[in-house]
Symmetry: D2
Subunit: 126 residues, 4 copies
Amino acid sequence: MDAEDKGEKYFSCTDTERAAFEAGIKLGTIFHQFIGAPISRSNVDDMEKTIEKCARIQPFVEDVEVKINRDLLHDKKDIYDYYTLYANMLEVHIELKYRDVLIIAEMREIEDLSYPLMYIKEIRKR
Amino acid sequence: MDAEDKGEKYFSCTDTERAAFEAGIKLGTIFHQFIGAPISRSNVDDMEKTIEKCARIQPFVEDVEVKINRDLLHDKKDIYDYYTLYANMLEVHIELKYRDVLIIAEMREIEDLSYPLMYIKEIRKR
Amino acid sequence: MDAEDKGEKYFSCTDTERAAFEAGIKLGTIFHQFIGAPISRSNVDDMEKTIEKCARIQPFVEDVEVKINRDLLHDKKDIYDYYTLYANMLEVHIELKYRDVLIIAEMREIEDLSYPLMYIKEIRKR
Amino acid sequence: MDAEDKGEKYFSCTDTERAAFEAGIKLGTIFHQFIGAPISRSNVDDMEKTIEKCARIQPFVEDVEVKINRDLLHDKKDIYDYYTLYANMLEVHIELKYRDVLIIAEMREIEDLSYPLMYIKEIRKR
C-alpha cells in the first residue's frame, strides 16, 4: 500500500503508536459491525471470508484471519435453526503494516476474563 | 421449509399479516446490520452475496436479491479508497413464504422522499 | 402523526398488512442496531431510553417500551466490568398505528425456542 | 480506574502503544455500533449522551465528547422526518489513560479526504 497518506498530518505520535491505534480501530470495527448478524452452519464460511474482506480494504491491513467457532452452532431442528453472531464465537488475527512497523493483534474470548479481549500480540520494527 | 414452527402460538394475526411482519423484520435486519460496513469496488460483490446469505437463513425467506450501487463507489486514489455502506447504495428485493402466502417486499432509496423506503410490492395467496 | 405519507403509493397491501410490516421493520431495527453495544449497570437505564427514543421517531410508532434484563448484568470486579448487549437481555413492546389499525408487537427471548422471538401480540381495527 | 487489569499479560507492547491501541478500539466501536441509528432533531441530544456513556464504561476511558452535526438534520415535513446517523455527522473527542499515559484521539469528517478520519491528537506521558 504505497499510496499517499493524506491523513498523516493529523497525527501526533510515533509510527509504532499509529500502528497500534490502527490495529485497535480494525478490531473495534469487526466486533461492532458484525456482532448481531444471523449465522448458521450454512453461512459461517461465507461470513468469515466477508469479515476478512472488509478488514482488508481498510488502510494498512496486510493480513487478517477470522474464525467463527462452529461448536457454538449446534444443529437446531426447527425453523429457528440459526444463531446470532456473538463475540464469544469470534476469533480474529490481524496484521497491519504502517511504514516500518508490523503489528499483530488479536481478538478472542478469554475464559478467565469472561471477556472478548483485543490485544497486541507482537510488534516488529524492521 | 417444512420444519415445525414452535413460535406460531405467540402470534395473534392472519397468515398474511404474519408474512408482512416477517418481511419487515428481514428488511430492518439487513439495513441495521450492514449499514456502516467498509465497502469498495473490491468487496462489493462479496458483500451483496453475504447479505443475501444472512437473509436466507432466517425463517420463511424464499429468495432475496441485494444490489449495492457501484456508481457511488467511484475510484479514489489514496489509502482511503473505500467507503461506508450507506442506505442510499442499497437495493433489496426479498420474497417470503408463510404457509399459503407469498410476499414480495423491497427496499430502495426513493428520490422524491430522500428516504430508503421499505415497502410491500406484492402479496399472493395461493 | 397526521403528516402526509408520500410513500403510500409504493405499497400493494391492506392497512393491516402494512401495519404488520412496519412493526416488523421496527423490531428488526432495534435488534440489529443495538445488539453489540457496551452495557453495564451504569448505562442500562440510559440505553433503554435511547432505544425507545430511536423507535419513536420512526413512522407510525405510537409507543414503545424497552427493558434490558439486569439479572444478566451481574457485578464484575475488574476493569472489564461491562457486557455486550445481547438479544437474550432485551424485551421490547411496541405499539404502532397505521390509519385505523393499532398493532402491538413484542420481542423477547422464548426459553422453549432458545430464540429471541418477534411476534404480533394484538391487532385492533377501530 | 484502579481495578486489576487481568488482561495485561496478553499484551506485548509499551504502555503508550497499548494506550494508542485502546483509543483505536473505542473509536472503531463508536463508529460501527451507532452508524445507521435513526436520528432526528428530537433525539440528537439523547444520542450524543448515550454514545458518550457507552464509551465511558469501556476500559481506560477518562473522558469523551460526542457531537452530532445538527446542520445535516434539516427539517423535513412528512412522516419520514428523520435521518440515519452517518459518519459525516459525527465528531468524537476521547481521552484515555493507561497507567502514566494520557492519549487524546478524535474522529471527524475531513473534507480534503472525504473521509471520517480517526487520529491521535496528543499523547502525554506523566
